[in-house]
Amino acid sequence: MMTQEAKRLRRKEGISAGLMLSPSLILLLITSIYPFFWLFRYVLYDYNGFVAYFTGLDNIKRAFTDVVFWQSVLHTFEYAICKLIIVIPLSLLLAVIIHKNIPGSKGFKMIFFLPTVISASIYALIFTFIFAVFKGPLNTVLQSMHLISAPIDWLGDAKWVMTSVIIVAVWGGVGNYMIYFLSGLSSVSSEVYESCMIDGANARQTFFKITLPMLSPILKVILLLAITTAFKDYQSIMVLTGGGPNNRSQVMFLYIYQLIFGSTSSFNIQIGYATVLSIIAAVIIGAVTVIYNKFAKKLDDVM
């Protein structure tokens, strides 16, 4: 039987928890949930921010035949998969090396983390200079190492543009995930490693048999965050290429952004149509997340 005092304490805790949660809940309602439902208002309209014209199912029909949009969906998957394949193992590797506390590791940790605190549009702008064709630093270095014979048009050539935006994405994201992994690594008890050493395990065995399984709970969270972020990335691509050349680097959210806010040389404002695409994009990302969660559960059973 719970005493009166315990009941009172529990009620008090409930109230204070509610109060402490309320700012986040209110913000979530205003900035995430309300705008999501707001989207549905204009699905059947051609809306330019001033006047809404009823167009029936035109926006929905157009969405299913819009070649640029479906190309942008494919590009988003291409971008996200390539980015994740590189950024996750790389950040884990960096975290493991830095965790060993070798001399200078603190400095490296800071350097790797630095891109996270710089605005994506700023570092993308810097990369446009690095990628410059005419006497650009990257081309000059590659040419001096005899790796390429002629300068590459990193941002203007359809063959190379996706590689370029992925390089920038990896550079911008690796430090962030490295910090997540480092916090995961610090939670693994040193005694486990000590007993490992006593048992004669080598570095490879320690990593695959101890570190990785012990990291699995945090790895799942990091992967989930990385997947949703990669699918929603568009800021650096907007600065680097604006989706070009010929829409080769156009991704879902950049296309939607251009339709909502207008783009001087691309579109005039088409909010109604953009809301339909936003809903489709949300469904796509939702589906990817659900699939990942199922996969992650299976991962649990195996590990």
């Binding site: 330019n48 006047v51 035109d58 410059a132 005419f134 300068p151 941002l155 010929n246 579109f267 005039n268």
Partner: protein, 459 residues
């Protein structure tokens, strides 16, 4: 104890807020004698001069006070938001064809106040602005009613070139036709041997920057004003020629994805010979990236056959528009009159910010004070086309689609057929919705597009 400190701090904060607002109110009441006219602008380059103009007015006028605010980001959206939230300024500046600003939508939504007859008939106002000559449908007027009057202008596009690089390749004169320009720039790139190139573009407004001006000067426009439909057929010849810039190595490599300032810096560094842009480049190449190591010159755009058959878009600037929500309309019109007075406009032009718009002002301004801006002096075939219906097109805009076709060297006919189809489908759909009207000009003359009789059709 902690609780007491916390409560004391809360009380102190609340009291300070109460007293602060009280003192603000007190301050406001002492200033109520003057009517405040609030103006928004998105121009930063002239801020120093405009602040002085405002200060002079505020010091000499004891009834009206001007408050000038610069809005840098997202200007048209900020204007809309200010109006819908009831915080709109009395007046705002907008240049002709300002990015993101659609006059039709603003007027249709009842947001703007038309210029009063009394001001338009004021001889001094007319003398400085030539207002009656610069009322263009869809740009600053709807149904003949003007909502904004400009007083200065940016020139139409010109070709700016490196005289030394042209000479090195044996050119003493700038080409008169697009084909000659293509041949010349290919030759310069060959002579440059990877050190310098013939011509360049940049990442923004690539097609509009100079190529579209060349097409328009040849009497070709993407909207057929006689029949009220979009028609891109005339662009074919220029597109085929422009593809050679890329195929045959005339274009500065990678310039297609570089920012405008990066390419200006390259031009000032002598790494390419030809750059197309309007009169703002006068300031760029004298102050921002001053050219010291070579001679540079400015010339008119070439055309397809070397003759002038059409209008090249110029950009009247500094148009003041009034929000219908203004509570101080009379005072605001007074301010409009002051900001369009001879001394204010003369000072503005002589500072080198823009070119004079009216014939009278061209005669009063001391052109020796404006430096290289004089090279961009207005020419007879520069003007404004009436606004084309702003349709919601599915897919890329014509400028983007045409430029993509030029850069990638793909089928020009296919690109033009696709544009004709998409633009006219969008036009018919938007007319049906009542969103836009078909613009038709009887007796349309490409050299004088505003002279014909304009009608707006709902079918």
């Amino acid at each position: 104890m902690k609780k007491i400190v916390l409560i004391a701090m809360l009380i102190a904060c609340t009291l300070s807020l109460v007293f602060a607002s009280g003192s603000q109110e007190a301050a406001a009441t002492t200033k109520t004698e003057k009517t405040v006219v609030e103006i928004w602008t998105n121009d930063r380059h002239d801020a120093e001069y405009m602040s002085k103009v405002v200060e002079d007015f505020n010091n000499s006028n004891d009834k009206i006070e001007i408050k000038l605010t610069t809005i840098v980001e997202d200007y048209p959206n900020m204007l809309v938001m200010s109006y819908t939230s009831g915080n709109a300024p009395d007046l705002f500046y907008m240049n002709a064809r300002g990015t993101g600003f659609d006059l039709q939508t603003f007027v249709k939504s009842g947001m703007l106040e038309a210029y009063p007859e009394s001001l338009l008939k004021d001889p001094e106002f007319e003398k400085v602005t030539d207002a009656s000559k610069h009322i263009v449908e869809g740009i600053n007027a709807i149904d003949g009613k003007p909502y904004g009057i400009y007083n200065v202008m940016r020139s139409g596009t010109r070709m700016i070139y490196n005289v030394d690089l042209l000479k090195k390749s044996g050119y003493t004169e700038f080409p008169k036709t697009l084909e000659e320009l293509v041949d010349m720039t290919i030759q310069i790139s060959k002579d440059g041997n990877g050190e310098y190139y013939g011509i360049s573009t940049c990442a923004s407004a690539q097609f509009e920057r100079w190529l579209e001006g060349i097409i328009n000067k040849s009497g070709i426009y993407h909207y057929d004003y006689k029949n009220g439909v979009f028609n891109f057929d005339g662009y074919k010849e220029a597109m085929l020629l422009a593809q050679r810039f890329f195929k045959e190595g005339a274009m500065f490599p990678g310039s297609n994805t570089q920012g405008v300032d990066a390419m200006r810096a390259q031009f000032a560094n002598g790494t390419f010979a030809t750059w197309g842009n309007a009169s703002q480049e006068a300031g760029v190449f004298t102050d921002q990236f001053p050219i010291k190591d070579f001679e540079w010159a400015v010339t008119e755009l070439p055309s397809l056959d070397g003759t002038t058959k059409g209008t090249v878009d110029s950009r009247p600037q500094k148009g003041l528009f009034m929000f219908s929500s203004s509570k101080n309309k009379d005072a605001a019109w007074e301010v409009v009159k002051y900001l369009n007075s001879e001394s204010v406009v003369k000072g503005y032009v002589e500072k080198g910010y823009a070119l004079p718009l009216s014939i009278y002002m061209q005669s009063v301004v001391d052109m020796s004070k404006i430096g290289r801006l004089a090279d961009f002096a207005p020419v007879s075939y520069e003007g404004l086309y009436p606004s084309v219906p702003a349709v919601s097109v599915a897919g890329d805009s014509y400028a983007k689609a045409i430029w993509n076709c030029i850069v990638s060297g793909t089928d020009v006919d296919k690109c033009i057929a696709d544009l004709n189809k998409r633009y006219n489908e969008a036009l018919e759909k938007d007319i049906k919705l009542g969103k836009v009207k078909r613009v038709v000009i009887a007796n349309y003359d490409p050299l004088n597009p505003n002279a014909g009789e304009i009608s707006y059709l709902s079918k």
